[in-house]
């Protein structure tokens, strides 16, 4: 299955929120939708969910306009909250039935996910008695309850402890392996890097950068090398390239990528213990900041 957004425009009053957004994801892949606060991420998600219409543009599945009765979308909103005073299983059944499930099917799915997320003991507890992270798990169950084709997760990792985050990671990987389309919106770049083959950076209502993370990183000059030796101080003087010590490492500035081999040869000729040798790639964070620092 192929999910595609084409030339999406949306204005609120005189404020142009989206100005021609294109996105593309296929089954079994995750897309990281990045953007600063107010860039228009939530607006895109809400248009996908049909909470309001777009001024222009199309949302397509396999080249045809999306049929919302046929495609199931699971959504975990950034704003967390359900009915605080209702029992967990009661409200999960309610949401499942709203999504068109039978009570029986909903209960089965609820049992599976409560078990999967280690939440079985809270089944008949009131939501408000749960910790914030656990409430978030319940909300994740709502999003996944009816086995959606497209899963949209808005900041899914915020506020989770490392163990829960790990659990969520596993579930996301399962979703991807299960050929779902996963769309992530997050500021936590490390998670995006972990799951998403593709990213799209949104700024001022436009996609300013999109593509595969590897290719994006590769497009940056790879002329900075980080090396670590047993004795950095001694080595630095012997190198034929401009270098500086940074923490435990030496950062070498080359003129171009080809010189990497020359540096390696030079290091090999020195009689030293080389502990590590890395080409410095830009982090997703660097890329993000570079593309979005122009104001909103």
């Amino acid at each position: 299955m192929e999910f595609q957004i084409e030339n999406l425009h949306k204005s609120f009053g005189s404020k142009k929120v989206l100005q021609g957004v294109d996105l593309h994801v296929v089954s079994g892949e995750a897309l990281g939708l990045l953007g600063r606060n107010g860039a228009g991420k939530t607006t895109i998600i809400r248009i996908i969910l049909d909470l309001f219409g777009s001024d222009q543009g199309r949302i397509m599945i396999d080249g045809k306009d999306i049929g919302r009765d046929k495609i199931k979308i699971g959504y975990l909103p950034e704003e967390r909250g359900l009915y605080p005073k209702k029992k967990i299983d009661e409200q999960l059944v309610y949401f499942g039935m709203l999504k068109g499930m039978s009570k029986k099917a909903a209960l089965k799915s609820i049992d599976y996910y409560l078990d999967r997320l280690d939440m079985n003991c809270y089944k008949s507890a009131k939501l408000e008695t749960l910790s914030k992270g656990n409430q978030q798990k319940i909300q994740l169950i709502v999003a996944l309850l009816n086995d959606p084709d497209i899963v949209i997760l808005d900041e899914p990792f915020s506020g989770l402890d490392p163990v829960t985050a790990q659990l969520l990671k596993e579930i996301v990987i399962e979703l991807i392996d299960d050929n779902k389309i996963v769309i992530f919106s997050s500021h936590q770049m490390n998670y995006i890097e972990e799951f998403c083959n593709n990213i799209a950076i949104l700024n001022n209502g436009r996609i300013v950068l999109d593509g595969k993370i590897d290719e994006i990183k590769r497009s940056y000059p790879r002329n900075r090398i980080k090396i670590k030796t047993a004795n950095n101080e001694e080595i630095i003087g012997k190198l034929g390239f401009p270098a500086a010590i940074s923490g435990q490492n030496i950062i070498v500035e080359l003129e171009n990528e080809i010189q990497t081999t020359d540096l390696l040869k030079e290091l090999a000729s020195l009689d030293i213990v080389l502990e590590s040798f890395n080409v410095i790639e830009p982090t997703l964070n660097d890329v993000f900041v570079e593309y979005t620092k122009e104001g909103i």
Binding site: S11, G13, L51, F52, Y75, G81, Y83, K99
Partner: protein, 408 residues
Amino acid sequence: MEQFLVVFKHEYTMFLKNKIFMVMSIIGIVGALILTSIPRFASMFDLGGDSNGSRDTVVLVDNTGNGQSIKTMMEDAMGHIEVFVGNFSQVELENKIRDGEYSSGFIIDSINHYSYIVESQELYDSKNMVMQEILKVQYQNYLMLESGLSAAQAANVLSATVTNDVVEIGVDQAQNFLFTYIMIMFLYVVIMIYGQLIATNVASEKTSRAMEMLITCAKPRSLMFGKIFASGCAGLTQLMTIICAAYGGYLLNREYLIEGSFMEIFNVSVSTLIFGVVFFLLGYFLYAFLYGAIGSTVSKIEDISPAVMPVTFLFIIGFMITIMGTSSGDVNSTLVFISSFIPFFAPMAMLARIGMSVVPPYQIAITIVILLLTIVLIGYMATKIYRLGVMHYGNRMKLKDIFKALRD
């Protein structure tokens, strides 16, 4: 439709489990039982009253020589009263009343003037009225004898009366007044309470952010309509329970009911009753949609009161116009007449007109059509506002924000 039913069922059970709802129902049931038991209590009280002999003691100081006959007439006219003819000065009498020896006193100075001395006059003091009537007749009699009429002639004049027959071809206002009044009061209370409940319910879903999930699981129309129909049905359930309690109370206390007093409330025509239900439902839906839409424009519970104020005012104005109309007896005054075609006032105003006068069927039809159209329009707008409102957080939306958003 399926979604609507799911929402309906969920909201309906939520209502039944709601503590405020339960307390309201219990108060209603207890109130109905107490009201229907009043005749029983009243009869018990009456028995006690007689045996205690707690009679009203009145002193009569007469300077005209008719003391004994006035005393007799007074005691005949009033039930629990004992009249003592005495000879005190006004100061003495005032002291005796202040000390509690007597409850009140009359000093008749001349045939056409008297003073009534009492600690504090009750709102409807019948003693004074009776005395005034007795003395008036005596004075009239005196004047007639003075002018040369014989005693028989004077008695003839005084006892002259006119008989009449009332041929009523329309609606008996007096009989329907109580029923109409109760229906309007009921409509008012139910819409006021349920309207607020709906607004609070929607707003609390926003506050708890459950809305974010709901809106992505179900269509706004299903959510809005499900909620409004559910609260309507919850209201009817409550109403039926209270009516059943009242009927139970009536059965228990039937023997104490004075024939032709209490149950006369329900002695109205079937058509009036049906119109009562029709306008009740129309009024309910009209205001329920408005309150629901308003609830979706606020994101904090404390913002609800100022936000619903305009609608509440509109509703109260309609109520006041109708109640003033029914109280004055002129339910076809220009004001009530016009109001019965203004959607926001019509449910109550038209109900009053139907209950207490004869309204041409075409006018009723016009009002029903106007109301139905308005409900469809408001329902449509309310769903749109709800859809926009539920995603609007922060300051509550002003009217101009809502219109601006609707245009977009």
